[in-house]
Assembly symmetry: C2
Homo-oligomer: 432 residues x 2
Amino acid sequence: MSTTTENGVGGYRNTSGEKTYKKTTSSALKGAIQLGIGYTVGNLTSKPDRDVLMQDFYVVESVFLPSEGSNLTPAHHYPDFRFKTYAPLAFRYFRELFGIKPDDYLYSICNEPLIELSNPGASGSLFYLTSDDEFIIKTVQHKEAEFLQKLLPGYYMNLNQNPRTLLPKFYGLYCIQSGGVNIRLVVMNNVLPRSVKMNYKYDLKGSTYKRRASRKEREKACPVYKDLDFQDMHEGLYFDADTYNALMKTLQRDCLVLESFKIMDYSLLLAVHVLDQSPKEGGEPGQAVGDGKRPVAQRVLYSTAMESIQGDGKAAEAHTTDDTMGGIPAKSHKEEKLLIFLGIIDILQSYRFIKKLEHSWKALVYDGDSVSVHRPGFYANRFLKFMSTSVFRKTPSKSAGFCSSVPYDRDTFMTQAVTHASHWDRKTSVMV
Amino acid sequence: MSTTTENGVGGYRNTSGEKTYKKTTSSALKGAIQLGIGYTVGNLTSKPDRDVLMQDFYVVESVFLPSEGSNLTPAHHYPDFRFKTYAPLAFRYFRELFGIKPDDYLYSICNEPLIELSNPGASGSLFYLTSDDEFIIKTVQHKEAEFLQKLLPGYYMNLNQNPRTLLPKFYGLYCIQSGGVNIRLVVMNNVLPRSVKMNYKYDLKGSTYKRRASRKEREKACPVYKDLDFQDMHEGLYFDADTYNALMKTLQRDCLVLESFKIMDYSLLLAVHVLDQSPKEGGEPGQAVGDGKRPVAQRVLYSTAMESIQGDGKAAEAHTTDDTMGGIPAKSHKEEKLLIFLGIIDILQSYRFIKKLEHSWKALVYDGDSVSVHRPGFYANRFLKFMSTSVFRKTPSKSAGFCSSVPYDRDTFMTQAVTHASHWDRKTSVMV
């Protein structure tokens, strides 16, 4: 326990090999997560269903869990801690929206071991995956949690309009307080099912500046590559026209929401499973995984890649079979059959804009600061252009006979949407 | 035009008999409404469909319509005016939510004469009804319009969760500026179809203090009576158990939303059509009305009384037939068959609380002012108690053999809902 080696910003590894985060061992953190969520979800079931009100987004519930147990909480082997649940009724409502039953949420998180993932980014966050592949639990910084809290009403207004989205779905926000330390956690949907062997993984931003995986990253078993690596390794991923259009439309709607919140610096997490490569080697969808359990497609609604981009109603269920594990069928330029898994990640880091959100939403409309107004639009524009031309491509129709990808006309869309909004900025006036 | 007589706060009648509002004749106002809404809805159709963003609630669109016409607007016979549309994209989304197509909205408001209603309250507002009974257009004061603007994001969060509600459905907010005068208008659902003859009309608040219709009101052809009058004239309105429970549940959810916005002083507008009374005398649902057109049930989704309280899915359509015109079947204590029409009205007058909403929603949670915290709860409680016991009653089951109405256990419900929220107030803390 004496020597620690740094592992990103907040994550350390002690001499016994166990990771620590803010001086808390990973096992103590996992234990506190399971006890805390177990308590808070159980407690919620006694509260009657009612409509979510605006105030519910600002409620924080708090319970103390001493090691020796209490009237309300069981005894445990970790240091005393306090567990805070943010916006419990609001998150309950949104778990329902995505078809997550309280018992399933409890079972997934509390009844099976949490699997610690090696840090996919360099943020120093710890990541845990539930055994059934449904949920990711991620430590977040104070400012990120605060940003999420402020974002929630508007964010969920958009989720309500459009549950088919590649944006992260937040199912809970918690804080564990112990020994003078606060560890904040978000529960989100999991983009990459473990049961599928990913041949390539990318973190894409649409930028080329310094966007190459480090040597250290490349030495890993399954490195997360970046934009320049993608361009070296692929000549685009090819989809049939309907799928390509659905994917582009989803990305555009999502980027518009992010732009409206002045969020930037997000990434597209993209994983490619090659179906044609050596089916005997295991990791093929539908095959048994390491722990001997037969993998099943994710149960949470709209959480698979395919469901996230499917435009219409109930049809998506049919797509989420054991054959694709929710991945989107695609082809490489060499006609290899692929399954694509993807989601937009890292949307909470833009907390420099928090001051603007603090006052009121009006501040966003009246804001004259050209940097904060235009930079998120520039970012979204570049992101979409890269995705729609360099990364995703439409399979050329056989009659045409030549290979041209038709980039979705993002400019027209965005001009009529966001730029429309900023156009109105100038005309906007308070009621007089 | 020289002499005017006061008619409420803002409404006057000039010597030619035509009403004026803020020095504007009713015919000029109707003309400006039809021209303005015609322009703004037409203009919207050229804007592509996209998700509503939080900022959209604060957008104000403005167009100038000179008498001689312009490139964008037709010539007209009224003074020059400017027409402002508040939150155009947000209201478009919510019209869609209620199944109102742009063409139908345009046609209802702009293509048939607007019918001026005699002022139902003493507010001085002018009320116009569209010829097809779908929409009410009402003048509102500056503060009311401002309050509605601030309310919109949270109000529609609730409508999204629960489109079955007796709360007013707002379909548009506009302002006509002419000759230095601002006239603000809301477009809402119409609670009382003209094609049904209402035998009794009430404005109920659950209070008994001075709640009797004035002598002047009583002299009208169809007076709007109040709480004490109701108690003199009826021994309650009887519903089967399912309908009673659905009605109470809807009122409770609605009152909870109003309480969360600190709104008070609203009324239940209640109209009773007696089915058994002399069917030959006309005014019977399904019969031809004065203008010789066969009445049809309202087309707008969830806008009839029956649809407003129906809990489950699609079933409501079946209920909205020509037989009931969307009214809720009930009986008097003398076993007369009735149809009940109702809606909660006058929710925008509580603008004294506007200061609190201005800062942020958080202010509502942290607010320590016991008056503003408790008075809306007291009002809601008294309102619900009166409705659930004195006004609406459950038909006694035949096996029981005696007449006892079982008031819905509002206390339990509210304790677990609103008072739960204020319970949490004390525990609530900002993130530290």
